[in-house]
Symmetry: C2
Subunit: 205 residues, 2 copies
DNA sequence: CACCTTTCGTGTAAGATTTCACAATGATAG
DNA sequence: CTATCATTGTGAAATCTTACACGAAAGGTG
């Protein structure tokens, strides 16, 4: 049941999870339907049912899905039952925003440490954390067994830093640097480049 | 030629453009091939050729693509020949990072104004800009004919702010708020939620 | 010039994803 | 208890996307 599930399906699960959490917060109802969820997300109900059916039968005919139960199941599928420690590399503007962002904790992640190579930044307090020198990066990541990192450093140092992180055991990497990164098989990479996103939209304007 | 081009193809053009710019910066060569470009991006050469062929014939057999020429063509296709003015809404941590980011200018966008509703933030200097009160938002956006906006405000005010922006004439919106937005037909929306991206990766860990 | 190498552009095949549509199931109301 | 209604889970069809493979062009070489 766990094999062979298309990436594109996995990619939608976090969206479902996020909307289920919103539904739970609204607190108006204990259950929802594929139709309601789809309507709220601009996705067809059939797609939602098909996606979920890859993992089991979570709904009930006539009633729909129990919001709490489906939330739990999706959290389990996405391995969010316990928190992932995350390392942030780069304590500039973006690192600053990330360190202060409180939207990670209740969704399965905790910023566990933040690194910089600028002596001026090292030691500075950021949110709950203190900026660490990048020379300690390998030691701390190995010691805390950190598997997830966020890159918020300039593009020209992103690839070498990626290599260091992977070498220290990081398996999932979200990069804000506007550059394609090369990683070994088995390491996940994801990118966030606002300019790419804007450029995708201007075509249609 | 302009109709019927799949969104997924449009979505890759900015990636090609970004890598072409890097190649130009490296300055080692005047031309590149679909094979080289694909190799650098982890995309098949056939896909690159097929994607480009939707818009015309930009290459030369035996030689490949002239980097400068292809860059120009892609910029034209994506409507990046002249700069788009961009409004940033929300002068918090993220708005701060965006206002100081110098990676927009050379890729077709210019942050033209930044808004906040917090009297403490209004008037503050951010990068080259001064934070404007959100009450002036409609006036300024209409006056400058701004079509592109970035949302960096809390989730619960994101939908009403979207409605205001769309009403003022915004046609493309990049939102950092972790919530699905509803917009009228013809308005483009794009999202950036790092938690969604991390959750997509933890499944594979 | 004849030959070789490179690389494009593209028709077609293969594969992936979405949509359709319906039997089956559970809830509800009279 | 039966009829009605809502909604799931899922094969099959339709659509979309990627990969393959090759003829044709361009440039270089002897
Ligand atoms: N600011 C934005 O809104 C924004 C938006 C999109 C993308 N980005 C990208 O995100 C990245 C960071 O952006 P930023 O605005 O925070 O930049 P920034 O210059 O404010 O911060 C970068 C930080 O990285 C540190 N650094 C540099 N080399 C390092 C190394 N080898 N090891 C550890 N730390 C190192 C610097 O000391 C600095 O503190 C850049 O790649 C940028 O292109 C930024
Ligand atoms: N900080 C991060 O790293 C990060 C990461 C991902 C997503 N986000 C999301 O991005 C958004 C902004 O995050 P942030 O960290 O900058 O938050 P922030 O609290 O630092 O900034 C939000 C700003 O929006 C302003 N604001 C609130 N309501 C407004 C309104 N109606 N009109 C105009 N301005 C208004 C506030 O005054 C504040 O200055 C949030 O939705 C957050 O969930 C943040």
């Amino acid at each position: 049941m766990a094999t062979d599930i298309p990436d594109i399906v996995i990619g939608r699960l976090p969206i479902y999870l996020r909307e289920l959490t919103r539904l739970a917060e609204e607190g108006k109802q204990k259950t929802t339907s594929s139709h309601e969820l789809g309507h709220r997300l601009g996705i067809s109900s059939a797609q939602i049912r098909k996606d979920l059916s890859h993992f089991g039968e979570f709904g009930k005919q006539g009633t729909g899905y129990h919001i709490g139960y489906l939330t739990e199941q999706l959290s389990d599928i996405l391995r969010l039952s316990s928190e992932w420690d995350v390392a942030v590399v780069g304590a500039g503007f973006l690192g600053h925003a990330l360190a202060h962002y409180n939207g990670f904790l209740d969704r399965g992640f905790r910023i566990a440490c933040i690194f910089d190579n600028d002596p001026q930044k090292v030691g500075e307090k950021m949110g709950e954390l203190i900026v660490q020198p990048d020379t300690d990066l390998e030691k701390i990541i190995k010691h805390k067994q950190i598997k997830v990192a966020i890159l918020a450093i300039p593009p020209h140092v992103a690839q070498p830093m990626t290599d260091r992180l992977v070498n220290a055991g990081v398996k999932a990497l979200l990069s804000y640097a506007p550059i394609h990164l090369t990683v070994p098989e088995g390491v996940q990479v994801s990118y966030s480049d606002p300019v790419i996103q804007l450029q995708r939209m201007t075509y249609y304007l």
